[in-house]
């Protein structure tokens, strides 16, 4: 090989190498973009729900009420008959089979939707109005364009008659899409159109608060001790080794810990944010200790010496002078640790947060789910409608995480001091 050929070969190798690098970076970025795109495209439709306009006449007779009903009366009365009667007026139907088909266009909660409206707006007694009642899951998916209507009738759940009603109702503008408040207000449900993340949101909130309240102080104190007061002996080494190990233990092992000790030995209530919070706090502890120690280490010795020279005790110099300077870096690390805890699923599954929880929990010892666990549970469901709900939940979860990370980065940049 001549000199020229060799040099050319070497430069080609250089170009190829650089190309591999660029390709890898681009691929990684593409993965991110693709993932987010798929989730968002599948999830955005969940923020709307399909409704059907139904005319309801709240006559006293239809509700078997006496004149001037009290609030209690309104709550205790049966709404079933009024609801069915109004539903059947939406479309011309003959015979039981067609009636059933019409009623199945609606989500099975129609009775309660009518009831809730009147209780909230009692002035409508004896008046007529048009209510937007939630459509069934199949209708919802059909209206959003996700339903395979081209399939032969025996292979789908919506029969031809229902399809015909749907088309006519669309023509008459009786079907519409509105903002899906159920997504945020309601708890879990077997029916996708009625399912919401209300329970999971509150569950995650309680869990994170407990995680924060437990892990933050203990982590800070532990870091202060290890960084400022611990003597260089074997116990300290042992503690440090433990912390580094714990940071790398798979999260599912913490789930086993929670199951074995918190639920087993201490008999705490299953499926609650309390237990989840404690479990996640133990997991988050090392992840806060490590950045906190780094921040403490970064404070120059001159600060400590300055305080000591003025006659402060060691404790005073640490608490009054060093720790305040290390707080920004620590906060940053804490927020990132919390963000990781927010997204954890495996340990929570093991401590039982897979319960089907319909009611929104009111205290941390009520059983609940959390956002990521809700994602897991819904992803196991067969109904098509859950796909968009799951994706929407992921969107909401990701936005929390992004916000938390932004705050952490902002804090770090704003308070970063270059010594």
């Amino acid at each position: 090989m001549t000199k020229e050929e060799r040099i050319k070969k070497r430069y080609n190798a250089e170009k190829r190498f650089k190309l591999y690098g660029i390709t890898s970076v681009v691929l990684a970025i593409l993965f991110v973009v693709f993932l987010i795109y798929v989730i968002f495209s599948k999830g955005s439709s969940a923020f709307q729900k399909t409704i059907i306009n139904v005319e309801i006449n709240f006559t006293l007779d239809s509700l078997y009420l006496d004149p001037n009903p009290s609030k209690d009366d309104l709550e205790n009365v049966e709404y079933y008959d009024l609801a069915i009667e109004s539903l059947l007026k939406v479309y011309q139907v003959n015979g039981l089979k067609e009636e059933k088909a019409l009623i199945n266009l609606f989500s099975p909660d129609y009775e309660y939707e009518v009831r809730d409206f009147l209780i909230k707006n009692p002035e409508f007694i004896n008046k007529k109005t048009i209510l937007k009642l939630t459509a069934s899951d199949d209708m919802d998916q059909l209206h959003k364009g996700n339903y395979p209507r081209h399939l032969p009738e025996d292979r789908r759940r919506i029969n031809d008659f229902q399809l015909m009603m749907y088309d006519k109702l669309v023509e008459q503008n009786k079907i519409d899409k509105i903002f899906n408040n159920y997504l945020f207000q309601k708890g879990d449900s077997r029916n996708p159109e009625l399912a919401g993340i209300g329970g999971a949101l509150v569950g995650s909130f309680f869990t994170i608060i407990i995680t924060l309240l437990l892990s933050f102080p203990i982590a800070i104190f532990a870091s202060i001790y290890l960084e400022e007061f611990a003597p260089k002996n074997r116990i300290t080494d042992f503690i440090e080794i433990n912390i580094n190990n714990l940071a790398a233990v798979p999260s599912i092992v913490f789930g086993l810990l929670g199951l074995g000790i918190l639920l087993g030995t201490f008999d705490l209530p299953r499926s609650t944010p309390l237990v989840a919070g404690i479990t996640l706090a133990l997991m988050t502890l090392p992840r806060i200790i490590i950045p906190c120690r780094a921040s403490l280490k970064a404070v120059p010795p001159s600060i400590r010496e300055g305080a000591l020279a003025v006659g402060a005790s060691k404790v005073q110099s640490v608490m009054h002078h060093v720790v305040p300077l290390a707080i920004p870096g620590t906060l940053s690390g804490t927020i990132i640790g919390l963000a990781q805890a927010l997204g954890e699923t495996a340990p929570l599954i093991l401590i039982g947060m897979v319960a089907f929880v319909v009611d929104i929990p009111s205290i941390p010892t009520d059983p609940s789910a959390s956002l990521p666990v809700q994602v897991y549970l819904w992803s196991e469901q067969a109904e098509r409608g859950f796909v968009e709900k799951t994706s929407a939940t992921i969107m909401i979860l990701l936005s929390f995480l992004i916000t938390l990370n932004f705050i952490a980065v902002y804090l770090r940049q704003k308070f970063e001091r270059k010594w």
Partner: protein, 467 residues
């Protein structure tokens, strides 16, 4: 109730603080002596003596109160001569008793349950009152002790700081406690498991089908049942599945991660780096349940359809799909760590190589990477450890059937998937099935521990060279 107690402790402590502070002031004016610390510290001292012992007692009491009451009632139940209950039945009855007490029991109320609820009620009130008495007397004792000390003009600031340092030390012990807790809870159940199943059958057996384990009580296994069980808990297919999926993941993550790390450390301009590094790190911040969902929803079906078109039989829960998505998740672990490690190779080495007439890629390939190798290997090992311990992606995208195979188009299961599957659903807590989950957890814990240890040794060796 506990909330009230906490508030009371708070009020007492505050009062003690005020009292301690004023007391020391009185002492110094009446005896006109100098005091050893600022008055506030005497206040803190007394407040700590008031609060700390009470809080500790409250905490310990609350932790154990429930189990003790349960134990007492369970004992009464198990002494019933008419029916001999298993521990699970006792559990069930206990839960009914508690719901009856709480007013939301809707089943048939037997005499036993009624009696149990009354017992529960009385136990609870005894517990409550003794708790209050204990706390009050503790508070009185400790406060008195504290006042005595103050009157003797102790070095309050010194003592307070000592208590504070002790508190700090206690917090750092939590890490050890956690590790101990993990090992204890894993070992406890695993030992129960290994009393039923031979450890060699577990570690080296090649057939995993826990559904066959109907036995409730490990000590009551008959010989035939044992022979059957012997073949139900062989975890080799799990180890293989875990390793296989991790291998697929690393095949994706190592090239992409390493090359991105190299590109960003050596070639990229500051602008490009500022832009791409955070985006790639987003991959690390996305919860794994999202990856799992993505794999089950998009990647798995895609491979199956694609395979069908090529005439191949691809499971919709293929190891390939799970491994690929896991690999994407691991990319930032490899790329970030490699980036840092490469950046810390001193510039003088590169200069030496350029001066001899090497191109940039030759310098990287033959000088920089070999110099950074221990650090890079360390980061890869840490990534492998992450892959092995990963749960959600495999639970949602990989299979549930233990399958010893090297075909990535089939579905296999992993250690973590099985742990979840064994513990979810209605399981009796003391069966070999649930115990095996802990045994698996123990194996996982040690495997990742060893990997992490080796990885850190590598990184340490590298740092020694250049720091």
């Amino acid at each position: 109730m506990n909330l009230v107690i906490l508030i009371l402790i708070g009020i007492f402590s505050y009062t003690s603080f005020i009292y301690g502070r004023s007391r020391i002031k009185k002492i110094t004016t009446s005896q006109s002596i100098k005091i050893n610390a600022l008055p506030n510290y005497y206040g803190y001292y007394l407040a700590l003596w008031c609060a700390l012992p009470s809080l500790i007692i409250l905490l310990v009491w609350s932790i154990f109160e429930a189990s003790i009451i349960k134990g007492l009632i369970s004992q009464t139940l198990s002494q019933n001569e008419l029916n001999v209950y298993t521990s699970d039945q006792i559990n069930l009855i206990y839960q009914k008793i508690v719901s009856l007490y709480n007013g939301n029991f809707s089943g048939k109320i037997t005499n036993e349950i009624k009696q149990g609820a009354e017992d529960y009620k009385s136990f609870l009130s005894i517990a409550q009152s003794s708790k209050v008495v204990l706390l009050l007397s503790t508070a009185v004792l400790t406060i008195t002790y504290g006042i005595k000390r103050i009157s003797k003009n102790n070095k309050a600031r010194h003592d307070v700081e000592k208590i504070l340092t002790g508190l700090l030390f206690a917090c750092s012990l939590v890490a050890i406690l956690t590790t101990l807790g993990i090992i204890f809870s894993l070992l406890f159940e695993s030992i129960k498991f290994f009393s039923a199943i031979n450890i060699f059958d577990f570690l080296f057996g090649t057939s995993w089908s826990p559904q066959r384990a109907f036995v409730r009580d490990a000590s009551a296994i008959t010989a035939e049942e044992y022979a059957d069980l012997k073949n139900a808990f062989g975890s080799v297919p799990l180890f293989a599945g875990t390793a296989f999926i991790a291998l697929i993941a690393m095949t994706v993550a190592v090239p992409i991660g390493l090359f991105s790390g190299i590109y960003m450390a050596e070639y990229a301009s500051i602008k490009v780096r500022k832009f791409s590094k955070p985006i790639i790190e987003i991959l690390a911040g996305i919860p794994t349940v999202v990856y799992g969902f993505f794999a089950a929803l998009t990647v798995g079906p895609f491979f199956r359809e694609f395979g069908e078109k090529l005439g191949l039989e691809v499971s919709s829960e293929s190891a390939l799909a799970a491994g690929l998505v896991m690999g994407v998740m691991i990319i930032p672990y490899v790329s970030s760590l490699s980036d840092d490690v490469i950046n810390s190779v001193p510039q003088s080495l590169r200069d030496g190589s350029y001066a001899v007439g090497a191109t940039k890629s030759e310098t990287i390939k033959r000088v920089v990477i070999p110099a950074a190798l221990p650090g890079i290997v360390g980061s890869i090992l840490l990534a492998v450890s992450r892959a092995i311990g990963e749960t959600m992606i495999v639970v949602m995208a990989a299979g549930l059937a233990a399958n010893l195979t090297i075909n990535p188009l089939e579905s296999t299961t992993t250690i973590t998937t099985q742990i979840v599957m064994l513990l979810v659903g209605d399981q009796e807590f003391d069966s070999p099935k649930t115990q095996s989950a802990f045994a698996l957890g123990l194996t996982l814990f040690f495997a990742t521990l060893i990997l992490n240890y080796i990885a850190l040794r590598f990184v340490k060796k590298y740092r020694e060279k250049y720091d």
